[in-house]
């Protein structure tokens, strides 16, 4: 009996101290999912993110001399659990939230301004968040779903032209999957192509035979996929079974990871995917992560992790946050910063070619810098193709159709603000 009482006491005290202790650290929580149908992709995101920040702690002793405390919170890609994770960090001064799911982002988007904590949804989340003035607390560097869809359509236009073509859009039935549909609605009449929608419900992710029979019925010229988790390999396998030409099948950057095509292997040759970060381990940043973290076993990453699409992208996501923290420390002069300072950091960081070289990301990603008006950066995406074993870059950077995308983003942002009365906005100078 005595032992348990002492145990409880110790537990309580460490808890209080750990809460206190976090003020001395830079707390960067990350919502992950290592369980459930999206586990394969979620594990890659989580490992890349955590490894990079651990590397900063090991190599430079944190940022500006202050250690980074990165904490994982399991959501299983479920909105309810995401809200629970968000609530569990209230009052612990988290610097930035990384939901890793558009569904969760939509849930916490309204809460973030109240708790003065910015949200960074790198390449996902609500596209309208690109408009910095309407969404002061939400960022989606380097590019949003609207921009990406326009880049992919530009690529298709370059390959076979869009006029008179039929495009099939297969997507995961969720906030994530439905996000780019307005782009198709808008551009179809403009470019004279027709499209049909193929929603895949979460639980049918593994049973797509009827979806691909409909594809055989509709006979599209191109297929675009907004998939995630176990849906991706199943879709490519089903496409092969339905004898659909894989080189006319383009997935977005979340539907074209190594983990998605490995189970398909050689048969998946020809499948294309868009991305904004290169693969491979010969970048100095990746080498540092391997040297300081992976080789020392301070990670959960499998050996095939570093260099893969999703892992490198997660490294870049962590690097963006680290750079924003450093910028916030410089602007405010404070070592331990809070959510508000972080927001300033996210709007004023500069990652030009020189800075990229210092960090060791040259050639992996395009340079980008924060701005008050534009929380997206309208970054370009390039197309890579699966050659059976690895991804090969087959196109150079394709910038989005800037005017069309920006105009749609402004409209979407305005609509969001009007739906939610009392929505706080900001005006940039």
């Amino acid at each position: 009996m005595k032992k348990t009482i002492i145990g409880a006491l110790v537990a309580a005290t460490t808890l209080f101290t750990s809460v206190g202790m976090s003020f001395g650290d830079l707390l960067v929580p990350v919502m992950t999912y290592r369980v459930g149908p999206f586990a394969a992709n979620g594990t890659m995101n989580a490992n890349g993110f955590v490894d990079y920040l651990t590397m900063l702690n090991e190599r430079d002793g944190g940022i500006g001399g202050v250690k980074i405390k990165v904490e994982e919170c399991e959501t299983g890609y479920k909105a309810e659990k995401g809200v629970e994770c968000y609530e569990s960090y209230r009052g612990k001064n988290p610097l930035v939230h990384t939901p890793n799911s558009t569904g969760i982002t939509l849930q916490i988007l309204a809460k973030a301004p109240e708790d003065k904590t910015p949200i960074l949804t790198m390449g996902y989340g609500l596209s309208a968040a690109a408009k910095g003035e309407t969404f002061p607390w939400a960022f989606n560097y380097p590019t949003s779903y609207f921009s990406q869809m326009t880049s992919i359509l530009k690529y298709i236009d370059g390959e076979t032209g869009l006029k008179g073509k039929k495009i099939g859009f297969i997507f995961l039935e969720s906030g994530y999957g439905r996000e780019p549909i307005p782009v198709l609605e808008q551009l179809a009449p403009k470019f004279g192509f027709e499209y049909f929608l193929l929603p895949v419900a979460g639980k049918d992710a593994q049973n797509q035979s009827s979806h691909w029979l409909t594809v055989r019925k509709e006979k599209p010229d191109w297929m675009i996929m907004w998939g995630w988790g176990v849906m991706n390999p199943t879709a490519v396998k089903a496409a092969i079974k339905a004898r659909y030409p894989l080189d006319r099948f383009v997935g977005n950057w979340w539907a074209a990871g190594d983990v998605d095509l490995a189970p398909v292997g050689e048969a998946g040759k020809g499948y294309k995917g868009s991305t904004f970060n290169a693969t491979g381990t010969d970048f100095p940043a990746v080498q540092d992560v391997i040297k300081y973290v992976v080789s020392k076993g301070m990670t959960k990453t499998e050996p095939d992790g570093p260099g893969s699409v999703l892992y490198n992208r997660a490294l870049w996501n962590a690097a963006l946050i680290a750079e924003a923290i450093k910028t916030a420390q410089d602007i405010t002069g404070k070592k331990e910063i809070d959510g508000e300072d972080m927001r300033l950091g996210l709007e004023n960081f500069v990652l030009d070619e020189a800075r990229l070289a210092e960090l060791g990301f040259t050639g992996m990603v395009a340079p980008i810098s924060g701005s008050c008006k534009d929380h997206e950066g309208a970054g370009a995406a390039f197309i890579q193709q699966w050659d059976g074993k690895k991804w090969v870059k087959i196109s150079d950077a394709i910038p989005p159709m800037k005017e069309i995308a920006q105009e749609m983003l402004t409209k979407a942002a305005a609509q969001y603000a009007s739906n939610n009365t009392g929505w706080t906005t900001q005006t940039c100078k």
């Binding site: 369980v35 639980k203 593994q206 035979s209 055989r216 019925k217 176990v230 390999p233």
Partner: protein
């Protein structure tokens, strides 16, 4: 007015026109429906086995399928050769069956059906937690090639297009038919089979006749495990092995309603009906309703059966006495 015409043509005209216009697609849909029908039937078979022999509606059967597939892959990854890992999985299932009987069934022998049913729901939660913990949550690809099942596909060119038969699906159908025959014989001819049927009707009576209840139940759960393994292999081969298979496993419930709870042929016929019906309805009538109708189609058919023929096609009549 045009909405009405749109609706009527959508329901009666366009689907049949499409069927005639692209017959190869129609046959491909039939074949796909047949294959998923056999797999639904196999899962339903697992349910029927345990219900027939112990009166327990085993809600954990779909998760047993996932467990079997995950275990097989993990054993293989540990370097155990393919067929040996199949044996390991079978041993694991025997131990599991023994444990379930000892810890759960023995204590709940003569409680009413609902409590037994709830215990299998609880069991499925335990298995989900344990399987995710031990085998990890990551979906992994099935090792059917290593098991020697043929891959690649046959093509039957027809009307310009072609109907493609995956060798894997063919072997799945063949193995399913073999399994059903053996089980059908097992139940009717062998001593244990008759013992199982006796136990299902009235456990006390079976006990008085000298059939050892516990031993029978262990066998039954083990056989259900074997069916789960076969289903897991073929279902896992069609699409990666992950916990989403469990939700698809629930499709076996409507199959049971249609085929009746206690009949082995009923499970298979019910499975085929659902498989074929679902596929055809989704492809030809799906777009009219915004597609994705496969999710509830099977249940609505089952509901229809429930209201007019509750005991299903082959099940025995349920008689209510005052």
């Amino acid at each position: 007015m045009d909405f009405l015409t749109y609706l009527l043509t959508g329901i009666f005209l366009t689907p049949f026109a499409e069927m005639i216009e692209m017959p190869d697609l129609f046959f491909q849909a039939l074949w796909d429906g047949f294959v998923s029908g056999t797999l639904y039937g196999l899962i339903a078979l697992g349910f029927v086995l345990i219900f027939k022999a112990s009166g327990v509606f085993n809600f954990a059967q779909p998760i047993l399928v996932v467990l079997a597939a995950l275990a097989l892959i993990s054993f293989y990854k540990m370097g155990i050769p393919a067929w040996l890992s199949v044996v390991c999985v079978l041993i694991m299932f025997y131990a599991l069956a023994w444990l379930i009987e000892r810890l759960i069934l023995r204590k709940l022998v003569n409680t009413d059906g609902n409590i037994l049913f709830m215990s299998t729901v609880a069991l499925s939660f335990i298995i989900i937690g344990a399987a995710q913990w031990i085998f990890g949550g990551r979906p992994s690809s099935m090792i059917h090639k290593e098991l020697g099942f043929p891959t690649g596909s046959l093509e039957w060119p027809m009307f310009g297009g072609g109907v493609y038969f995956e060798m894997l699906d063919i072997s799945a159908a063949v193995v399913a038919v073999l399994l059903i025959l053996t089980l059908g014989l097992f139940f009717s001819r062998t001593k244990i089979g008759r013992g199982l049927r006796a136990v299902a009707d009235d456990p006390q009576a079976a006990l008085s006749v000298g059939i050892s209840l516990n031993q029978i139940w262990v066998i039954v759960w083990f056989v259900a495990g074997v069916v789960a393994l076969v289903t897991g292999i073929f279902w896992g081969a069609r699409s990666d092995v992950s916990f989403a298979l469990q939700i698809i496993g629930f499709k076996a419930l409507p199959v049971l309603i249609i085929g009746g709870f206690t009949s082995v042929p009923g499970a298979i016929v019910g499975g085929l009906m659902i498989g074929l019906g679902e596929k055809i309805f989704e492809i030809y009538w799906g777009p009219l309703l915004g597609s994705g109708v496969e999710g509830w189609f099977a249940y609505v058919i089952a509901l229809g059966f429930l209201l007019f023929k509750p005991q299903g096609l082959f099940g025995d009549k349920i008689i209510e006495r005052v």
